[in-house]
């Protein structure tokens, strides 16, 4: 059961990482990187590292995504 969850999560992570690289809209790419971090945090939890999982969920998918969006909004205005 655990193995199936891990395989599904890694597939989602790979798909989202590729999306982040090749998608034309930057907003979609930023959200895709956030999803990669979220899945990584669930993965850390499954691998018995809850301390790392909490950091990854709060900083990787929360704060860095919002900072990317702030910067994106700024450079879009500058164009």
């Amino acid at each position: 059961m655990n193995l199936i969850i891990i395989i599904v999560l890694s597939l989602i992570m790979v798909v989202m990482a590729v999306t982040a690289i090749i998608h034309k809209k930057l907003a979609v790419a930023v959200i895709a990187t956030g999803v990669v971090s979220l899945m990584a945090s669930v993965m850390y939890l499954l691998m018995a590292a809850p301390d790392v999982a909490m950091t990854e969920a709060a900083i990787g998918s929360g704060l860095s995504t919002i900072i990317f969006f702030y910067v994106l909004n700024k450079i879009r205005k500058a164009k």
Binding site: P50, D51, M54, A58, G62, L63, I67, Y70, K74
Partner: protein
């Protein structure tokens, strides 16, 4: 053509390195001597049920001080480069905040803040600690800033909280030299009963200071990024 050849050569070289790493990888079945020491004597020496915390705060406390310093440097560099000129006119925001985010922020911001404080106070008992708690507090500020774009975080309060907790963190470490085994030793305070909230010596104190410091630094970075949104280019 030559450029493509170089790229392929570099990718092939990296692939060769990683394939050998992957084939030689095996799960270690025994602990290293250092890990054995931590696992056997960590609970008795430090008195914290969460072994990760006892390593991060006590055995490797100096590294934690370094990480907090790096975060402090990042926060100060961000606020140095994103400094707002007071003379600039604010431009109007185009969209109203949605009702859902407004209501949710009123309900959730206090709860998320309390969760953050819970995480860093209970750092020696449950998973989590100063960095995690501070990051959770900063996510509460994200919700607050998304709901009220005009909200301004009071920089004076943030800088006071940040510097007082930073100084106290180092002072607790120095007290460790004077009263206990060395810098950041947690036996400054009595170890107490194993598994209670006031136990594990100075760990709850140190983690509270780290949590307040990390939370105020990350909130400061966020409010700096939010501040430049309304600037005219």
């Amino acid at each position: 053509m030559i450029r493509n050849f170089f790229i392929i050569a570099i990718v092939a070289g990296l692939a060769a390195i990683f394939v050998t790493l992957f084939w030689n990888f095996g799960d270690s079945t025994t602990l290293t001597p250092l890990a054995t020491h931590y696992a056997d004597k960590g609970a008795a020496e430090v008195g914290a049920p969460n072994l990760v915390t006892s390593i991060v705060v006590t055995y490797r406390g100096f590294d934690t001080l370094g990480e907090v310093t790096i975060l402090f440097l990042v926060a100060s560099i961000v606020s140095f480069f994103l400094k707002r000129e007071k003379l600039q006119k604010d431009i109007e925001l185009k969209r109203e905040t949605s009702e859902i985010i407004l209501t949710a922020s009123k309900l959730l911001v206090p709860i998320v803040m309390v969760l953050g404080v819970y995480v860093f106070i209970n750092g020696h008992l449950t998973p989590g600690g100063g960095f995690q708690g501070g990051a959770i507090i900063a996510t509460a500020f994200v919700l607050l800033l998304m709901a009220n774009p005009d909200f301004k975080i009071n920089h004076r309060i943030i800088s006071i909280v940040e510097s007082v907790s930073g100084i106290s963190f180092v002072l607790v470490g120095v007290f460790g030299i004077l009263l206990a085994g060395g810098f950041l030793d947690n036996k400054v305070l009595p170890l107490g009963t194993f598994g209670k909230i006031f136990s594990a010596g100075a760990i709850p104190l140190i983690y509270s200071f780290v949590g307040l410091k990390v939370g105020s630094e990350l909130s400061n970075i966020l409010s700096n990024f939010q501040g430049i949104q309304k600037e005219e280019m």
